[in-house]
Structures are given as C-alpha cells and as structure tokens.
C-alpha cells in the first residue's frame, strides 16, 4: 500500500467517493449487516435450543455438571504408568494425567520413528535401483490404502500371537512374548545423572562450536571439523564423567521366573502395536511428501553438484535435501498432526491413552460433557503446539531472500 502513492499509473486517479450509507436493501452494506445479524441469531437460537435440551436432560438424569469429579478417587486400573499411580487412592485428575502422558509418549516416539522411516522410504522411491524403487512404491501404495485401525488390530493380533513367556523368543537378553517385549535396563545411579548433565553441556558446547566453525568458514573458507568435535562433546564427555565417577553399571536384565518375567523394563504389546502401526502407516504418507520434495528440486541442481565432483549421496545430503525441506515441512506438519490424532485409536486395542481413560471416566461418573471436553481440549492443545513449533521451524528453514 505504501508504494501505491508513487505508482505512476495511479497519478491523476481519484479514489471513488464513498457513498453515504443508506438504510435500504439496495445498499450492500445494509444487506451484509442484516445477513450477519440473521446468522448470529440463527446460531444463537440453535445453541440456546441445544443447551436448553441438555440442561433438561441432565436434570432428568440427576447429573450435576462441573469438574468436581476430578478430585474424587478414580479406581481405574492403569497398566501403563509413566508416573507412579495407585488406582485405590489416586484421583481422576491423576488418571487423566497418566492418559495425557501416554498419548504424548506414543505421539512423540511415533513422530520420530515415522519421520526416519518415511524419509528412508521416500528417498528409496527416487532411487535409481529398480528393486528399491519398486518395493518402496508397493509399500506406499499398499499401506496408504488400508485403514489404520485395521492395521493396528492386525499388529496387535500378531504381537498377541507371540509365544507365552516360557517359550519366549530370545535375542540376547531381550525377550519377545505375548506379555510384550522385555528389555534389560541400567539401574539408575547418581553417576548417570551427572553424565546426562554432561551430555546436555556437550550439546550446548557443540552448538557454540558449530556457530564458530560456520563463521570461520564464511570468513576464511577453511572449514574446521564439526562432526568429530560434536561426537567428542556429546558422547565422549558423558562417558568420561561416568568413567571418572567409577563407571557403575548394574544391569537389570529380565529373567524367567515361573510363568512370568522378573526385572527389566517392559514394552507392552499394546504400546508396541500402536507405535508400530502408527509409524508404519504415517511413514507411507511421509515418504510421498519426501519424494515430491526431492523431485521438486530442479534436476540442474543434481547436475551442477555432480559437476563439482560430489557423489550422489553427498549431493542428496548437502544440496538436494536442504532445498527439498522447504517444500517438505508444511505438509509434514499435517502428517504429524494426523499421527497424533490417530493415536486416539489406542482405545481399540486397549492402550490407555487420554481417550481411553477419559472414556472410562465418563462411563464411571456419567460426566459425558466434561469427559469429551477434556479429550478435545487436550488434542487442541497438542495440535496447536505442534503447529506452532512447525511454523517456527518452517520460518527458520525458509529461503531468506535479499
């Protein structure tokens, strides 16, 4: 608008005088106001009617609205507890919190797995190797055309069909059985906390080092190594701290005792099936996004980079993918949102996410409106957070034009 004043085409042109507002049907402004009032009235009337019905129905069923039930003892047994929970004493609020954490646990890990797997498949689709290109195409076409709920049920059935603990499949000290996947874990001690702290420090130092290296490359043209330093700082530093503190390592390995396992950590069949199903399904969509992103980079970029003597893998990593990312990020956001929303299908295979626990809550208390409001609020907040993060990342990656 600001430069419009200087536009030579507009010199001498006058803005059409605004007609005074007449209170007549032939004035569009009057019509607009009237229509909007009508719409507001209609929406308001429908809401008024529904709310009135709801109040009458609630009164007839003796249900009191409000979130007071959150403080009552829940008594919902929860198999998967990210934080300690006692079904005999803890409240509905705590149970719902467990549900939210379980949803986040699936969504975050699922997004990471689906991104890695989907990117690999997407790159595979552009491969010059015929077999790789065909197989990945079949993967994408097949998995996208089968409902995700059916896939989840299928994986869950497969995992439940694994042998009983006594005949569990064994991979080192990892056990696969119908009780889930048993994995050995390290017994936590103070040294690990310090090591984690060292790792965080290492990441911080790496960022500083990478910035300095980039500035130096921009100034002098010689690029100081980044990866070896990063490896040393992020992995070497924690290991060093851990070793200096006496290198404690007590492994809690699962072992068969009677009919079940003791020790170790468990990945339940429900969680494994949900994670597997969601990541495999979403990866098919991500693969298509990655493929179209790669193909959106003009072929000349490949050729120019090839002319500089770069190998195909290096070209992909250093030249093509960074440019493809600009095309990839926006649709990727909606896939992440889809994965998160699809995690609500957990309720069908008995994984206790927020939908499952809120559903149990509303069945036990009869607080249907509040239960569904909680589900919706949780997902809206998660969706909004993912959108905001991805928008920020997109803005960061966007082409900076001079």
């Amino acid at each position: 608008m600001s430069h419009a004043a200087g536009d030579p085409r507009l010199i001498g042109a006058q803005q059409a005088p605004r007609k005074p507002w007449r209170l007549s049907w032939s004035d569009p402004r009057t019509r607009n106001v009237v229509w909007q009032v009508v719409v507001i009235g209609a929406v308001g009337a429908v809401l008024w009617y529904l709310i009135g019905n709801t109040n009458r129905n609630l009164a007839a069923r003796h249900i009191a609205t409000g979130f007071g039930f959150l403080g009552r003892t829940a008594g919902i047994p929860i198999g998967e507890q990210p934080i300690p929970y006692n079904s005999a004493t803890d409240t509905f609020a705590k149970a719902l919190l467990e549900g939210i954490l379980n949803t986040l646990k699936v969504a975050v890990v699922g997004i990471i797995l689906a991104t890695i797997w989907g990117t690999l498949i997407g790159i595979g689709r552009t491969s010059r190797n015929w077999l790789v290109a065909r197989l990945t195409a079949i993967y994408v076409e097949t998995l996208r055309d089968i409902p995700v709920l059916l896939q989840l049920l299928f994986w869950y059935t497969l995992l439940q069909g694994l042998p009983a603990p006594r005949q569990a499949m064994r991979l080192g000290s990892i056990f696969l059985s119908n009780r889930g996947i048993k994995i050995p874990v390290l017994v936590w001690s103070g040294a690990y906390s310090w090591a984690v702290l060292g790792g965080v420090l290492g990441i911080g130092l790496t960022v500083v080092w990478a910035r300095w290296a980039k500035r130096r490359r921009d100034e002098t043209g010689s690029a100081p190594p980044v990866w070896p330093v990063a490896l040393g700082l992020i992995i070497g530093l924690p290991v060093l701290i851990w070793a200096l503190l006496g290198a404690p390592h007590v492994v809690d390995a699962p072992a068969l005792h009677g009919f079940n396992f003791v020790g170790g950590a468990t990945i339940t069949p429900e969680y494994a099936a949900l994670l597997l199903g969601l990541s495999i399904y979403t990866a098919a969509y991500i693969a298509e996004i990655v493929r179209s992103g790669i193909q959106s980079v003009p072929h000349g970029q490949w050729e120019a980079a090839g002319a500089l003597g770069l190998r195909r893998g290096t070209v992909l990593r250093m030249v093509v993918l960074p440019q493809a990312l600009r095309v990839i990020i926006p649709p990727m956001t909606s896939q992440y949102l889809n994965l998160t929303k699809n995690s609500s299908l957990a309720v069908a295979i008995g994984y206790q996410d927020i939908v499952s626990i809120a559903n149990t809550t509303l069945n036990q208390t009869g607080q249907a409106i509040e239960g569904i409001a909680i589900i919706m609020a949780v997902y809206l907040v998660i969706s909004l957070s993912i959108s905001l993060f991805m928008n920020w990342y997109n803005a960061r990656m966007a082409l900076v034009e001079r």
Binding site: P28, N32, W35, Q36, V39, I40, V43, L50, N53, T54, R56, N57, L58, A60, R128, N129, W130, L131, V132, L135, E141, T142, R144, D145, I146, P147, V148, L149, L150, Q151, L153, F154, T157, L158, G161, K341, N342, S344, L345, V347, A348, V355, N359, L362, A368, I369, G371, I372, I375, M376, Y379, L380, S383, L384
Partner: protein, 377 residues
C-alpha cells in the same frame, strides 16, 4: 581426445563398452549400477524372496481351505493342528456372508448384495467424464433412494429390516457415500464463508468450525455423537446410532473438504471474480457459474485423496459399536469356533478396503495426468 589425434599416434584401443542395451544393459543400469546398488539389490532380493516364499507357503501351499462340520458348527481342529504354519481360509468360507452383510437376515442378504453392486455401479458411472452432467445428479438421487428402499424393505414381498440389523460392507459404503454427499455442499458453503471479506461474523464462525474439527480426532466426534447427542436432543427424541455416527462423519468430512475447496478458490485468479462482477452477476450467480466450476476442477485430485481418507476413516465407527465392515470382521472372530484366525480375516478385510481405495487412487492419478496435460496445452 583431440590432442591424441593431432599428434598422429594411434589412440590406445579401447575395449567396446559393456552392454548398455537389452536385458543385460537394463540389469546393469537398474540393479547392479554400483557396488552399493548391487549390495542393496542382493540383500533386498534375498529378503523379498524369503518373504514371498514364506507367504506363498503359508497362504497357498499349506493352507486349509475347508473344514468338516462338527456337531456344533464347523470344526477347526485341522486348522489348529497347523499351529500357524498354514493359513486357515476355512474361516472366510464359513463367515464371508457375515463379514460382508453383518446381522442382516440371512435369507434377505441378496438385498444388501444388490445395494453394494448399485453403489459400485454408481461410482463407476461418476468416474466417467462423459457422464459429468446434470443428469448424473438425478441418477445419484434415484440410486440412493432405491438403495434405501431395498435395505429397509417393508413393501411388497420385502420384509422390513430395521437399520440396527444392517451391517458389513453396505454400512461402510453408506457411511462413506452419504458422508461425502452431505458434506460436500456444507464444505462449499464453509469455504466460501471463510473467504468472505464483507461478512466477518460468518468468516469467524467458519474458521472456528474448521479449526475446531480439524484439531480433534474423529474418535472424539464419534464419542460425542454416541454419548452427547442424546443429551442435546429434546426428551423422547432419540435418533438412532447409525444416523448419529453419520452426522459426526458429515461434520468431520465437511471441515476437511472445506479446506480443499478453499485451496481451489484461492488458486483461482482474482480477475475471474472481477470480470464476473463487471458483467453484473450477483454473488451467487457469479459463484455458481464462474468461480466454483473452475475452482473445483483445480482441486479434483486432492478431493479424491480426501475421499480415500474418509472411506478408510469410516472404519473408526468400530469404536462406538456400529456394524461396519471392520466391526463385522471383528465380531466374526469372536466366534469361539474361529478364535485365533484373526490374521486371515484381517487380510481379507484389508484386501476389500484396498480394492476400493486403490481404484480411487489410480483414478485420481490418471485424472491428475490428464488435467495436467489439458492445462499444459
């Protein structure tokens, strides 16, 4: 090269290039192009052959196709003795009518059978561009009326079948088709409303509707339909479960389709709208005659992709206990005679869903190519 020639020396004889044409050349270029490619081909080839062989062995060679009848229905002992080494397709032979048609009265199942055929014929007719004209709309209305008449019955020799006895594939098709047919006009109105500049109130309402629905999972809407709907309705009036789920699906589909339509409206050059206004067309005539025909054509491929998504999403009604294809399959598995043969049933269900979605996806792909060709002309 030119230096070598000018010096007069005979250039060293080069070996003829290795085959670059024919099958050998093709293999060399596409499977064994480099060390890395060769390794990948061999490793993947091994995995594929092992997997395919294992699958053929399980699904065909060692499969059990029929089981004898025991005193209490079919006797799956032979299948159980296989211990999973071979597929037990007998479960499909025994249950296929239930999976396809649910609890619909057994002797009347030819009726939903015809309905499924009508649906498929309707889709096929609509896919043909030669039929894209006004008469198609009447064809749709007529066919849908016939389908409902057949499903409900209650006239002539047809006995009345209430809709809580419907099930299987017809329910999936009804939910998907009606969902889209009803959601489409809603989506167009919402998309227009969201782009309206003069009516801020309408715009805000549309934005809130679209963002709210797109921000929450379909499950929560289905729960809302099954739990909250009865609360919203006046006492005594209790719409049945199928209708409630259908409304939830329509509201859900409406929001997603609205975004697709909006993309088409945005892609249309502004000059089209201005030219139509200059001709003195009213808003609705402008929209109906100029804007929508062009905007919708732009977004046909993403529309079909959205349709595929909804077709798959109708399976979510399983969670609120409506008898669609997936639910019928799951219920069939609950029969004690057939517990433990879930993989077979799920594979067949997957094949049915796949056929519908794959057909749509191929169609969308072909359409995209043709539209791109038409645009490039």
């Amino acid at each position: 090269m030119s230096i070598a020639l000018s010096s007069g020396a005979t250039p060293a004889r080069e070996r003829p290039p290795l085959g670059t044409t024919g099958p050998v050349g093709w293999l060399r270029a596409n499977l064994f192009g480099s060390w890395w490619s060769t390794a990948l081909t061999l490793a993947l080839g091994y995995v594929v052959v092992r997997f395919l062989w294992g699958f053929i062995d399980w699904a065909l060679i060692r499969a059990v196709w029929t089981v004898p009848m025991g005193p209490h229905g079919p006797d799956a002992t032979i299948c159980r003795q296989m211990k999973g080494a071979g597929a037990c397709w007998a479960v499909i032979g025994d249950k296929w009518r239930f999976i396809l048609f649910g609890q619909y009265p057994y002797n009347e199942q030819w009726r939903p059978g015809i309905c499924v055929a009508l649906f498929i014929a309707l889709y096929a007719a609509s896919a043909n561009r030669a039929f894209w004209r006004r008469e198609l709309l009447y064809l749709w209305l007529g066919t849908l009326a016939v389908i409902f008449a057949l499903m409900w019955g209650g006239f002539g020799p047809l006995q009345f079948v209430p809709d809580d006895q419907w099930g299987g594939l017809p329910i999936t098709l009804i939910l998907a088709t009606f969902g889209l047919v009803a959601a489409f006009p809603l989506a167009i109105l919402v998309a227009l409303g969201r782009r309206s500049k003069e009516l801020p109130v309408v715009r805000i309402l549309c934005v809130v509707y679209v963002e709210l629905i797109r921000g929450v999972p379909l499950i929560s809407l289905l729960f809302m339909a099954s739990v909250l709907f009865p609360l919203f309705m006046p006492e005594g009036l209790n719409p049945d479960k199928l209708l409630r789920a259908q409304v939830a699906i329509i509201l859900f589909a409406g929001a997603y389709l609205a975004e697709v339509v909006r993309a088409g409206l945005q892609a249309l050059p502004k000059g089209q709208s201005e030219a139509a206004e200059a001709l003195g067309l009213s808003y609705w005539r402008k929209t109906r005659l100029i804007i929508l025909p062009q905007a919708l054509r732009l977004v046909i491929p993403p529309l079909v992709n959205t349709f595929i998504g909804f077709f798959k999403d109708t399976s979510l009604v399983l969670i609120i206990g409506i008898y669609d294809l997936l639910t019928a399959g799951k219920v069939a598995l609950a029969d004690p005679a057939w517990t433990g043969f879930a993989a077979e049933v799920y594979l067949v269900l997957a094949a049915i869903y796949f056929m519908f979605c794959f057909a749509m996806s191929r169609y969308s792909h072909g359409l995209e190519l043709r539209l791109a060709a038409a645009r490039g002309r």
